[in-house]
């Protein structure tokens, strides 16, 4: 019995098991403790006896029994029954657990996810809580990913838990409207988590956040197999993650999409993403995640940057602008417009956005690039300087600086 396999089985079972235990105990700390307890017993029992047929049901039952025994032990101070007795859940019990939990499975996991992204919590706390409770990452791992001290992260999670304990999330099965609100809130949290990792680029401590986001999205999609927006969200992240190996050069500097070595893109993630985009489109219920996924898919389908369907991308950004008007989306569309109609048209488009995007690094990067293409070098330099001062990471700054140095040298 491979210990690595046991660990991944415990991680995979975690959302459903903790979700079910939370429904029993209605208390997050008790649910987590019970799950921890069950995991310790699994690590002891599975290598000897082999894994149970249904690891999740086993963990729920053993966790529940262990917690109840803990209560009994405290109240009566009687010795615990031997481990084998507690841990030996035969097929009969496994079926019982299935009956108990099968019908609740979806709402248990959704509730657990939803609690983590409760509207009372600020975004950073939502993500930290989801990583701790649903993904089972340690506080040390999460602290590292957020570039804060362990103590600060411990405090952030404790505060978040205290706040949700007061928030009183209902335990009855939600109605359809409430369920779809919960799904949307969870989707937003997952995308936030992905962006947290994506914007960190090649930082080894932060990049795994993207994998975690994809894992949670697949989980959500398995629960809601017919939701086109969840297909879109999952596809969007898969297609963006597929480009990771090409996003940075050997020195760790950012590489523009146009300059990616597309051979490095991960075909496996791309095929899964494209399959999900196809499935979502069939529903004819477009939404922002689907449109963004379709944009990412258009890039994925182009074997070289020159073969990119910029007219298609322009149309998709236009659709996205209509769904959620935002200067950032207009800025993105301007890149497609520059390809289609030249830099002057793109510059006209983004000029009115300057005030709104005054603190936004990519605005000045794009503006600089358009100006440079028009030969307005002095203005381009000013835009690039502004971009460097706003860059969020050294990779971003280095990228612009290099761009600036090379093109300015040529222009002189």
């Amino acid at each position: 019995m491979d210990i690595a396999w046991i660990n991944s089985a415990l991680t995979a079972a975690r959302p459903q098991a903790v979700g079910a235990l939370l429904r029993y105990f209605r208390d997050m700390d008790r649910a987590e403790e019970a799950f921890q307890d069950a995991c310790l017993r699994a690590l002891k029992s599975w290598p000897e006896k082999g894994p149970p047929r249904d690891p999740t049901a086993w963990l729920i039952l053993v966790g529940r029994n262990a917690a109840l025994d803990g209560v009994r032990k405290q109240s009566r101070n009687t010795p615990l029954p031997p481990d084998e007795e507690i841990s030996d859940t035969g097929d009969a019990e496994s079926e019982l657990a299935e009956r108990l939990d099968g019908s609740h499975y979806r709402d248990d996991v959704l509730r657990l996810l939803f609690i983590c992204c409760h509207p009372d919590l600020p975004a950073t706390q939502q993500i930290a809580l989801a990583l701790r409770i649903v993904s089972g990452l340690t506080v040390v791992q999460i602290a590292r990913a957020f570039l804060v001290s362990e103590a600060a992260m411990e405090q952030r999670i404790t505060r978040a838990k205290a706040r949700i304990a007061k928030a009183d999330v209902p335990f009855e099965a939600p109605g359809p409207a409430e369920r779809s609100e919960r799904v949307a809130a969870v989707a937003a949290m997952i995308y936030l988590l992905f962006n947290e990792g994506y914007s960190a680029g090649n930082d080894p401590d932060r990049a795994p956040l993207c994998d975690e986001a994809i894992r949670l999205a697949r989980l959500l999609l398995r629960l809601f197999q017919t939701e086109p927006e969840i297909m879109g969200l999952t596809a969007l992240m898969l297609l963006q993650q597929a480009r990771l190996p090409a996003r940075f050069n050997a020195e760790g500097d950012a590489v523009l999409l146009d300059d990616h070595d597309r051979v490095l893109w991960d075909d496996k993630l791309i095929s899964e993403g494209l399959a999900l985009v196809d499935k979502a489109m069939r529903h004819n219920r477009p939404g922002p995640y689907q449109v963004q996924a379709a944009i990412a898919a258009t890039h994925s389908r182009a074997a070289t940057a020159a073969e990119t369907d910029w007219a298609g991308i322009d149309g998709l950004y236009l659709a996205l602008e209509r769904m959620q008007p935002s200067p950032v989306i207009t800025l993105n569309r301007a890149v497609a417009v520059a390809k289609l109609h030249g830099p002057a048209a793109a510059l006209d488009m983004i000029e009115p956005l300057e005030e709104l995007l005054a603190g936004y690094f990519p605005y000045f990067g794009a503006r600089g690039a358009f100006l440079l293409q028009l030969g307005r070098n002095r203005e381009a330099r000013a835009a690039f300087d502004r971009a460097i001062s706003l860059a969020g990471s050294t990779a971003e700054a280095t990228h612009i600086r290099r761009h600036l140095d090379r093109l300015m040298a040529e222009a002189v």
Binding site: S8, T11, D267, A275
Partner: protein, 129 residues
């Protein structure tokens, strides 16, 4: 006799393997694959995308998102092998299982085999997964 070996596993686990973990299992399996190719036993073999990418048609008009059935383990891929009998098929399955121990292999005799008929069918392995 033609058999198919159907490989089942929990896809939430398999699809959260890291690139390295996945590559390690595939490397072990490819040793078995090469051996089977040398012995002239290996027919077409497929690895499938997860069931979240599946669509199911029930009757001519009803298209459902997702797999045929919600199960604890999912069909992840299959082999077609040409061996003498069930014992020989089990031997092959045991070798695959040794390379990929957490997966379960179901052995099913093949009743009808339609060969590859695309004129431009690839002769080499295509890694789209």
């Amino acid at each position: 006799m033609l058999y198919t070996l159907l490989c089942y596993n929990k896809e939430d686990i398999v699809w959260s393997w890291s690139k390295e973990e996945d590559a390690a299992v595939m490397a072990k399996l490819s040793v078995v694959h090469e051996k089977l190719v040398k012995e002239g036993k290996l027919g077409p073999s497929l690895r499938l995308l997860p069931t979240t990418a599946a669509t199911t048609l029930r009757g001519p008009g009803l298209v459902i998102d997702g797999p045929f059935a919600e199960t604890k383990e999912q069909l992840l891929g299959f082999y077609v092998i040409d061996v003498e009998n069930l014992d020989a098929a089990l031997d092959v399955a045991k070798e695959l299982s040794a390379a990929n121990p957490t997966s379960v292999y179901e052995i099913r005799p093949i009743a009808l085999y339609v060969p590859e008929a695309r004129p431009n069918a690839p002769k080499e392995m295509v890694k789209v997964y």
